[in-house]
C-alpha cells in the first residue's frame, strides 16, 4: 500500500491505474488470521460472554431474565465489593513501593560492581519467583501457624503472643510479605537488565565530569531505567488488584479473617462458585477490570509524559 502513496515522486512514468480506486489488499489478513483467530477465541469471546452474562440475572426460582444494568447498579453500591477494593488499594499503596524499592536497591547493588558473587545473589533473590505461587503460600502458611508453626515457636521463645500472622490487623502484612518475597527478584531482574542497556560512554562522561556514587545513580541510572520502572509499576498495580492466590490458599487457615470477599477477585470467585451468582460475578469482574485498566493507564500516561520532557 505504501508504494501507491509514493506515485508523485516518479513523474517520468505515467501512473498506470490513475482512474481506478486502489484495490483492497487482503494479503495482510492471510498473515494475521492465525493470530486473529486465537485472539477472538481467547480474548474477545470470553469478554463478550462476560459482558452478556452481566446483563442477566439467573435465579434459582424464576429462571433467567434480562435485567439491563441492574447488576452494575448493585455492584456500585455493594459494600462487600468496595471493602475488598479498599483492601487491595491499601495493599497496593503500601506493598508496591516497598517491593519495587527493594528490587531497585538490589538491582543497583548488583550493578554497582562493588559486590562479590553477584551472580549468586541474583539467583538467590530471583529464586522465590521460580517457586510455584501456591507452593510458596502453603510454605509460608506453615511458618505463619501460631499453633505449631514458626510463629508459635518464636512466641514461645519470647514468652508472649507477639506474632500473630492471622490476626485481622496482621493478615494483610502477612500476605504482603509473601508477595514481596515472591516478586522482588522478578522486578530486580527487570531493573537489572534495563541497567545493563545503559550505554557505557555515559558513565565515562560522568566520570570525566567528576560525578560519582549517588550522582551517577540519580543522573544516569534512574532516568535510564525509567521505562522499566513504569512497566514494573503497572505490572505490580495489576497484580495487586488481582490479588487472589495468596489469600485464597491461606483462607482455610484463617477463614473468619480472610472472608469470601477479601479481595475483588476472591469475591467474584466465591460469587460464582459458592453462590451460583454467575451473572453478578461477571459484573464484579468487569467493573474491576475497567478500574484496573483506568488506573494502569493513568500511571502509564504519567510515566511516559515525564519521560518525553
Amino acid at each position: 500500500m505504501t508504494t501507491l502513496a509514493r506515485a508523485p515522486e516518479l513523474p517520468t512514468v505515467p501512473p498506470r491505474t490513475t482512474l481506478t480506486k486502489p484495490r483492497r489488499d487482503w494479503n495482510g489478513w492471510k498473515f494475521v488470521w492465525p493470530f486473529a483467530l486465537v485472539f477472538v477465541l481467547t480474548f474477545i469471546t470470553p469478554l463478550a460472554y462476560a459482558l452478556w452474562l452481566s446483563l442477566f440475572q439467573n435465579k434459582m426460582v424464576g429462571g433467567n431474565q434480562f435485567v439491563g444494568l441492574d447488576n452494575y447498579v448493585f455492584a456500585l453500591q455493594d459494600p462487600q465489593f468496595w471493602e475488598g477494593f479498599g483492601r487491595v488499594l491499601l495493599f497496593l499503596v503500601v506493598q508496591v513501593p516497598i517491593m519495587l524499592g527493594l528490587a531497585l536497591l538490589a538491582a543497583l547493588a548488583i550493578d554497582s560492581a562493588r559486590l562479590y558473587a553477584t551472580g549468586f545473589y541474583r539467583i538467590v533473590i530471583f529464586l522465590p519467583y521460580a517457586v510455584p505461587a501456591v507452593v510458596a503460600v502453603l510454605m509460608w502458611g506453615f511458618m505463619y501457624g501460631d499453633n505449631f508453626g514458626l510463629a508459635a515457636g518464636i512466641n514461645e521463645w519470647l514468652g508472649s503472643e507477639v506474632i500473630r500472622p492471622f490476626a485481622p490487623s496482621w493478615v494483610l502484612i502477612s500476605i504482603g510479605n509473601i508477595v514481596t518475597w515472591q516478586f522482588v527478584g522478578y522486578n530486580m531482574v527487570i531493573f537489572y537488565s534495563a541497567l545493563k542497556t545503559i550505554p557505557t560512554d555515559l558513565y565515562e562522561a560522568a566520570e570525566i565530569d567528576g560525578a560519582r556514587g549517588w550522582q551517577v545513580i540519580r543522573a544516569i541510572k534512574l532516568p535510564g531505567i525509567r521505562g522499566a520502572i513504569v512497566v514494573a509499576t503497572i505490572f505490580s498495580i495489576i497484580g495487586s488488584f488481582q490479588l487472589f492466590n495468596e489469600p485464597s490458599v491461606l483462607q482455610p487457615l484463617a477463614s473468619n479473617v480472610i472472608t469470601g470477599s477479601f479481595t475483588p477477585n476472591m469475591y467474584a470467585y466465591s460469587l460464582s462458585f459458592a453462590g451460583q451468582q454467575y451473572n453478578y460475578s461477571a459484573t464484579v469482574a468487569i467493573v474491576m477490570g475497567v478500574i484496573t485498566a483506568v488506573i494502569a493507564y493513568v500511571v502509564q500516561l504519567r510515566g511516559s509524559r515525564k519521560e518525553v520532557r
Binding site: 480474548f43 460472554y49 424464576g62 451468582q277
Partner: protein, 455 residues
C-alpha cells in the same frame, strides 16, 4: 527515549489486556444458563417399580459420583450380581468441590452423572433446582421402614423423595480419656458440666482446650438442632429464617460462655494443626457425628487406646441429639437411563450386601436392621479401649429430634458463615450478633434468588 516509550505503551496495553482477560475468563467458566433452572435431556418422568427390574435385565451404563471410600467396592459387588450393567465410579471431589461440579453440570444441561452422592444438607438445594428425580414414581417410597426416621425425613423434600439415605451421623461426643483422667474430670453429661470441664482443662494447661471451634456452620447447625432450634422453615419457595428462635438463642447463650472467655481453640477443623492437636491431646473432645471413629483411627494414631465415645452433653439431662452430617445418593434428571439409575440406587442403599461392604469400610449405616444387629452392637474396637462404641452411637441415632430442615440454599449459606457470624469468633463477641448478621445476608440472598424469605 521516544522509542522506548512506544514499547512501554505496547507492553502496558498487553498487560491491561491480560488483566481484563483474566477477569473475563474467571467469570466465563460459569457455564451457560438454561432458562428455568436447568432440567435434563433424559425426561424419565414416568415409571414404576416393575421398570426397575426390567432395566436391570436389560442392562446399560451408569456413572456414579461419590467420595465414599467404599464406593468402588460397592459398585464392583453390584456389577458382579448384574453383569449387564456397567457402573463407572468417579470421585469428583469431596463436599464443596463435588457440589460445584455437579451444579455446573446441571446448569450446563449435560455432563452430570446418573447417580450422585449428596449430603443431607445439600439435598434440598438440588431438589428445588429441579436437578433430581422424584424416586416415588418407582415405588421407592415403600422402603421407608428400612431407615431411621431422621434420615428418611432428610431425603423427603415437600411431597417428593429425592434420594435414599446412605449413612447417618447422630451427634455424639468423642473424648480423650487420658486428658480427662489427668485432670480428674468425669464425663460431662450436661453442657454445664462441659463448661466446667473446659475451664479445668484450660487452666491446667493454657495450650489445651476442651474442643476447637473456628466457626464452622456444619458443626453449629447440629448444635442448634440439638438445643431445639428450628431456624429454617421451608414451604415450597416460601422460606422463614429465624436465627434468634428460642433454641438457637439457647445454644448461643451456652456457647458464648465457652467462646468469650477463650475456652475454645481457634484451630480450624480438618487442618494439619487440628490433627496435631488431636494427636497430642491439646484438643480433648470432639462434638461430632457417628462417622468420627474411622477418622480418628486412621488419622489420629497417637490417640489409640485413649479415645472414648459418649452421648453428647445435654441441657437438661435428656438424651436428645441431632444429625451431624451424613449423605444420601440421588438420581439426576439428566440421566439417560433413569430406571436403571434408580435400580442401582435401590440396590446400593437397601441391599444387605451393599450395606455390608459399606460397614466393613467403617461406615455408620442409616438402616435400622444393620444398626441393631448384634454383631454391630457388640463390636469392641481396640482404638477405643474395647468400648462398645456402637451401642452408644446407635442409642444416639434413636434420639435424633425431628422437624429439622435445611435451607434450599444451604451450600451458599454455609459459605457465607465466615463473612458474617465468623466475625463474632474473631472478636470473641456475642454469637447472637453474628447470627443476626448471617441471617441478614441469607435473607438478602434468598430474595435475590427468587425465594420469598421472611416476607
Amino acid at each position: 527515549m521516544k522509542r522506548s516509550t512506544s514499547t512501554i505503551l505496547t507492553k502496558a496495553i498487553a498487560a491491561l489486556a491480560a488483566a481484563v482477560l483474566s477477569a473475563a475468563t474467571l467469570t466465563a467458566c460459569g457455564g451457560s444458563s438454561a432458562p428455568g433452572g436447568g432440567g435434563g435431556t433424559g425426561a424419565g418422568a414416568t415409571g414404576s417399580a416393575a421398570d426397575l427390574d426390567a432395566a436391570l435385565q436389560k442392562g446399560g451404563e451408569l456413572t456414579y459420583w461419590t467420595w465414599t471410600p467404599t464406593g468402588q467396592a460397592q459398585a464392583d459387588a453390584f456389577m458382579k450380581q448384574h453383569p449387564k450393567v456397567r457402573v463407572k465410579v468417579v470421585n469428583a471431589g469431596t463436599g464443596g468441590d463435588h457440589y460445584t461440579k455437579l451444579q455446573n453440570a446441571v446448569k450446563a444441561g449435560a455432563g452430570a452423572p446418573d447417580v450422585a452422592q449428596v449430603e443431607y444438607y445439600a439435598l434440598q438445594q438440588f431438589a428445588i433446582s429441579d436437578a433430581l428425580l422424584d424416586l416415588k414414581q418407582y415405588g421407592l417410597g415403600g422402603l421407608k421402614d428400612l431407615y431411621t426416621p431422621s434420615t428418611w425425613e432428610a431425603v423427603n423434600v415437600g411431597d417428593g423423595l429425592y434420594g435414599l439415605p446412605q449413612d447417618s451421623g447422630p451427634m455424639i461426643m468423642a473424648y480423650n480419656k487420658e486428658v480427662f483422667d489427668e485432670n480428674g474430670i468425669d464425663v460431662p453429661a450436661t453442657w454445664e458440666e462441659y463448661i466446667a470441664a473446659a475451664k479445668k482443662i484450660h487452666e491446667a494447661d493454657p495450650k489445651a482446650y476442651i474442643t476447637n471451634d473456628a466457626g464452622d456452620p456444619g458443626f453449629i447447625n447440629p448444635l442448634i438442632w440439638q438445643a431445639g432450634g428450628r431456624p429454617y422453615q421451608v414451604d415450597g419457595t416460601n422460606v422463614r429464617i429465624d436465627l434468634q428462635d428460642e433454641g438457637t438463642k439457647k445454644w448461643a447463650g451456652m456457647w458464648n460462655r465457652l467462646l468469650q472467655p477463650g475456652l475454645l481453640s481457634d484451630i480450624p477443623s480438618w487442618s494439619d494443626d487440628w490433627y496435631k492437636a488431636l494427636n497430642n491431646g491439646d484438643i480433648a473432645t470432639l462434638i461430632t457425628g457417628a462417622w468420627i471413629p474411622g477418622i480418628l483411627e486412621s488419622s489420629v494414631e497417637q490417640g489409640k487406646g485413649k479415645w472414648r465415645i459418649a452421648p453428647v452433653p445435654s441441657y437438661d439431662g435428656s438424651p436428645d441429639t441431632s444429625e451431624n452430617g451424613g449423605s444420601s445418593q440421588a438420581v439426576l434428571k439428566q440421566s439417560k437411563n433413569p430406571a436403571l439409575a434408580a435400580a442401582f440406587l435401590r440396590w446400593l442403599n437397601s441391599s444387605d450386601e451393599s450395606i455390608g461392604v459399606f460397614m466393613e469400610g467403617g461406615g455408620f449405616p442409616s438402616t435400622v436392621k444393620q444398626l441393631n444387629s448384634a454383631e454391630f452392637l457388640g463390636e469392641t474396637p481396640e482404638y477405643f479401649g474395647g468400648q462398645k462404641i456402637n451401642e452408644v452411637m446407635v442409642k444416639a441415632s434413636q434420639h435424633v429430634t425431628s422437624g429439622w430442615r435445611y435451607l434450599p440454599f444451604q451450600v451458599y449459606a454455609n459459605s457465607a458463615f465466615a463473612d458474617t457470624a465468623g466475625q463474632s469468633y474473631i472478636k470473641r463477641g456475642d454469637l447472637n450478633a453474628g447470627l443476626q448478621a448471617w441471617q441478614a445476608q441469607l435473607v438478602t440472598y434468598g430474595n435475590q434468588q427468587g425465594f420469598t424469605v421472611n416476607k
